[in-house]
Symmetry: C2
C-alpha cells in the first residue's frame, strides 16, 4: 500500500511568503482526502493537477477561517464541474451550518454531501468505520473545538492473483479495490473478499494523525500512539514563551516534538507555521533535539508512506 | 489626479492557468477600492504588497461564489491584523447576510463595517455620494441580480499653494486630501475647501465602469456613457452562439465592444475570461474590429488614468 501526503498549505492565520493557508491532501489509491480547506485550496489542487471531482473526503479540524474558507469555493467548483459522486465531510459542531450557508450561494449542487458533525471530546471517537479505513477523532486544545484526526488503514502485503480473479469473474475495474483490501460486490450479487484473490503475506496498520490547531495535549498523545506520521501544529519557535502560546491554543516546535516522543510515533511533520519564520528549518532543527525524525512542511511537499 | 487599476483576478467561474477569480483594485491616492472579492484576493494583495488594512471600500457586483468567496478570508485577516478603520461594503440583496455569516466564523471584528445593500434596477441609482467621489449602480443582465458600478471622481487640475495652506494653519497631513479635491475640517472646527488652497485651473470628471457578469445590456450602455474606462464581462469569443451566451448572463468579446462603442467610452477592458482561452489576446483582437481601443485584462496588469 502506498499513501501520499501532499501539503497544499502550511501557513497559519493569513497568507505569507510561499505559504498558503492550511490544507493537506492524503491519497491512498482509492480515496483523495483533504485535511482542512484553507482559502486557495482549489488553486493548489489545480496546480498539482488534481480535479476537485476526485476529492472523496474533506475532514475539517475546526471552524476558524484559515482552515475552512476554501471550502465554499471548492464546493462551487465541484457543482460547476457537474460532480455526481457523494462527498463526505466531517467537522466539529457548526460544520453543517457552514456548509449550508455556502450552499445558499452555490445553489443546489448536483451531488450529495454526507456530513459527520462531531462533538469532539477527550477520549477517542469513531467517526468513519469502513472495512479497511477508519477515521477517529479526539479533542485537541484550541480556542474553539478542534478535532485531532487519526486516519487508519488496514493494509495487506500480498500478491494479487489475476488468474483466480478471472476464474471468479471479477471485472478488471474492481481488481485495484480488492488488492487494496476492500471487499467488493459483483453485479450478480456475489461478495468477493480480498483473500479470495490476494495471497496475503502479512497485514498491518497505517496510521496518520493530524492535529489541526492545538497546544500540546494528552488527548493528542493518546490518539497518536503507534502512528507512522504525526502532523502537528508548530506555529512558533521554542524561543517563544510556552504559556503564552498554549493559551492561544498553539504549539512550539519543541512542544510538538515532545508529543511525538511520548506517543512513540515514527515520524513528525511540523506545520501551521507562523509568517514570522521565513525558514521553517529553524523549527525542525529545534524539534530534532527532542525527536530526531522530524521535518518542517513546505507548500507542495509530498511524503510517501509504504507498507 | 492619478487612478491606478490593478487586475488581481481575471478568470471566470473557477481557477485557471495564470488566472485568479475576479477582483480588481482601484487606487485613487486616498481610497483603495476592491471591485469583487474572488477567492484568493488576499493572496494577490499580499503579492502586490497592499495590506488589507489599507482597503477602504469593497464593491461586490453579485453573490456568485467566484466573485465573493474571497471576502470572508479578507475580513478575517483584517480582524487578525487589528484593523480599526471603518470598512465600506456594497452589494446586491443578500450581501448583509453573507457578511453576517462570515462574521460568525471570524468573530466580532475590531472595526465597523458599513454595508450598502442595493436592489439594483434599470436606471441609475446613487449609492455613495461624497464631495469628489460617487458610486452609482444599475442592473446588469445576469442570472442573479448584478450591480454594474460606475465610480466617479470630480477632479481638479490646479496648483497647490503651500504658503496659503500654512497661513490658514492647515496641517501638512491634510494637504493631500485638499489637493485631491476634498473639503476638510480642522481641529478647531474651521472648514477648508480645496479652492482655499488650490489654484484650480480646470475641473473634470473621471469615470470607471465595471459590469461584473452581464449579457450586453442597455442599462450598461446608459451607465457607461462618458466613461474613461469600461471593464466589461467578456467570458467568451465571438465564435460562440450569442443567444446561448446571453442566456447564461455573459458576453462575448464583440458584445462588450458594441456596448463600449454605443456608450462612447474612451477605453474598453475585457475581463472574466473563460478558461478555454489560454491567450486572451484572441478576444481583444476580435473586439478591436468593433471598438479599437480595447485590451484584454491579465492577472496583475495595471492601468493608469490621469486627468
Amino acid at each position: 500500500m502506498l499513501i501520499r501526503i501532499t501539503f497544499l498549505g502550511t501557513g497559519a492565520g493569513m497568507p505569507g511568503k510561499d505559504r498558503y493557508l492550511p490544507a493537506i491532501l492524503v491519497e491512498d489509491g482509492l480515496r483523495k482526502i483533504l485535511l482542512d480547506a484553507g482559502e486557495g485550496v482549489q488553486y493548489r489542487l489545480f496546480e498539482i493537477g488534481v480535479s476537485p471531482l476526485k476529492i472523496t473526503h474533506i475532514f475539517i479540524t475546526h471552524l476558524h477561517g484559515d482552515h475552512v474558507f476554501g471550502l465554499p469555493g471548492l464546493l462551487a467548483t465541484m457543482a460547476m464541474l457537474g460532480r455526481k459522486e457523494d462527498l463526505v465531510i466531517s467537522g466539529p459542531s457548526g460544520i453543517v451550518n457552514f456548509v449550508k450557508s455556502s450552499m445558499e450561494i452555490v445553489g443546489d449542487p448536483p451531488f450529495h454531501v454526507r456530513i459527520y458533525e462531531i462533538e469532539p471530546s477527550i477520549g477517542i471517537k469513531d467517526v468513519i468505520n469502513e472495512e479497511n479505513f477508519s477515521l477517529q477523532c479526539t479533542l485537541a486544545k484550541h480556542t474553539v473545538p478542534d478535532c485531532a484526526y487519526s486516519l487508519n488503514w488496514r493494509t495487506y502485503v500480498g500478491r494479487f492473483n489475476p488468474e483466480r480473479a478471472k476464474e471468479l469473474g471479477v471485472p478488471i475495474t474492481l481488481w485495484k479495490r480488492l488488492h487494496m483490501g476492500e471487499t467488493v460486490v459483483l453485479n450478480d450479487g456475489r461478495v468477493i473478499k480480498p483473500e479470495d484473490v490476494v495471497e496475503i503475506r502479512s497485514s498491518g496498520l497505517v496510521k496518520v494523525v493530524y492535529t489541526g490547531d492545538t497546544a500540546p495535549a494528552d488527548s493528542v498523545v493518546e490518539i497518536s500512539r503507534g502512528a507512522q506520521v504525526l502532523i502537528h501544529d508548530s506555529t512558533f519557535s521554542m524561543i517563544e514563551d510556552g504559556n503564552l502560546i498554549w493559551n492561544q491554543g498553539h504549539s512550539r516546535s519543541v512542544d510538538a516534538a515532545r508529543v511525538a516522543k511520548e506517543a512513540g510515533v515514527e515520524r513528525l511533520v511540523l506545520t501551521h507555521i507562523s509568517n514570522r519564520y521565513s525558514d521553517p528549518e529553524l523549527l525542525a532543527a529545534e524539534a530534532s533535539e527532542v525527536f530526531p525524525n522530524v521535518i518542517a512542511a513546505r507548500d507542495l511537499m509530498s511524503l510517501m508512506i509504504t507498507s
